[in-house]
Amino acid sequence: MSLPTATNYFRITLLRSAIGLPKRTSGVLAALGLHKRLRTVYHPVSQTVAGQVFAVKELVDVQEVVQALSAREMRQLRQPESGFYVERRAGVRAGEGEGEEVEV
């Protein structure tokens, strides 16, 4: 497998459940860290991980990416934009606290 100088990662998402499949398959998913459907994990590209992915290739969607996101970062990206901002606070006269722009 040709790797550039930077570490690449597999971005693995579980799309199909392993219910009803042999325990070996769900063991592989547990080893990858995929315990629920539609969860995404990042693993550095290696032969081990590639073999694990190959074992569950029918259940999983894989991409090779440059950057790995943590669960916290993925959650931040999922948050929707608020769609509003506070223009003026109650009790503050217009023109006084105009610079205060709080994005909720």
Binding site: M1, V45, P80, E81, G83, F84, Y85, R89, V104
Partner: protein
């Protein structure tokens, strides 16, 4: 709240910026139309794609024939790629000719409605409406004036201003990868194919960052993505009226043949807003760039 600043710090600190395909749920919004890659559109998105295409055709035909006899005449707004909040500097707005022609007509009509999005949920509002949000809005007090800056539609009786971009067909490119290695001529050595990262935009990678590729295909999150108008086109203000609470409800939790019954009390609160102003800016006001009101 910290979410926006944290997101900015997070995404700014990494270079190159995280590929926008990693913002799938948020990156479905763009004013640039993308040609989808070959392959089938996943079933849950087929309806949305068809709906989008008919809208696009309607808008295209409407823009070609401005004197349409149909009562619901759409005037799409070709806004720049990022309808960013007014705090970030963006390129000057570029209005299409049809918008220039029809915006005064839309303005001249008496009453207007707006589909404002708060946390991506649409609310159909007009001036004087009282909105009971289905959540408790934190960090606001009664009397605070909110400026709603995410809208997908503004209209009056006969005219509608929509955002021109359509939600692209969301499909992971990995599902269409067909690589046939010819054993006679091609090399059989394995090679890795890294997802190409689209060029990052100069602006903050917000939900409206332009993309050149479909994001990673995740159907349950990819549904329902809309495109927003540029927020310099309109003014929408609402006042926080107060907070309402539902009656106390008690959920009893127990199991069969188990005497212990646990009671859980719930009394949710909901923020009430009153829409004070729904106004569409004039062409001169938009192009003048003054954001005094």
């Amino acid at each position: 709240m910290l979410s926006r600043t944290l997101k900015r710090a997070l995404l700014d600190s990494r270079l190159p910026l995280p590929p926008t395909f990693l913002l799938p749920w948020a990156a479905g919004l763009t004013t640039v139309s993308h040609t989808p890659e070959a392959g089938n559109v996943p079933p849950p998105l087929i309806d949305s794609a068809q709906h989008v295409s008919t809208d696009r055709q309607a808008m295209k035909s409407a823009s070609k024939q401005p004197k349409s006899a149909s009562p619901a005449h759409t005037a799409p707004a070709t806004a720049p790629k990022l309808p960013a909040p007014s705090s970030t500097g963006t390129s000057p707005i570029a209005l299409s000719q049809s918008v220039r022609d029809l915006l005064p007509l839309l303005q001249a009509q008496g009453s207007h409605y707006i589909t404002a999005h708060i946390f991506d949920r649409p609310y159909l509002l007009t001036q004087g409406d009282t909105v009971r949000l289905p959540f408790f809005m934190k960090d606001v007090a009664p009397g605070d004036i909110l400026r709603l800056n995410k809208a997908s539609n503004i209209g009056s009786r006969d005219y509608t201003l929509k955002a021109s971009a359509a939600a692209p067909k969301l499909k992971s490119s990995t599902t269409t990868t067909v690589e046939v290695l010819d054993p006679t001529s091609g090399s059989l050595a394995s090679h890795s194919r890294v997802m190409p990262t689209p060029s990052p935009d100069s602006e903050t990678p917000s939900s409206t960052a332009a993309r050149t590729m479909a994001p990673h295909f995740i159907p349950h999150i990819a549904k329902g993505k809309v495109s927003y108008l540029d927020d310099r086109l309109f003014v929408c203000r609402a006042v926080v009226m107060g907070v309402e609470a539902e009656p106390m409800r008690v959920k009893e939790k127990t199991k069969r043949r188990q005497r212990k019954v646990k009671s859980v009390k719930s009394k949710h609160r909901y923020t009430i807003l009153k829409v004070k102003e729904v106004r569409i800016r004039g062409v001169e006001e938009i192009e003048g760039g003054d954001e005094l009101d």
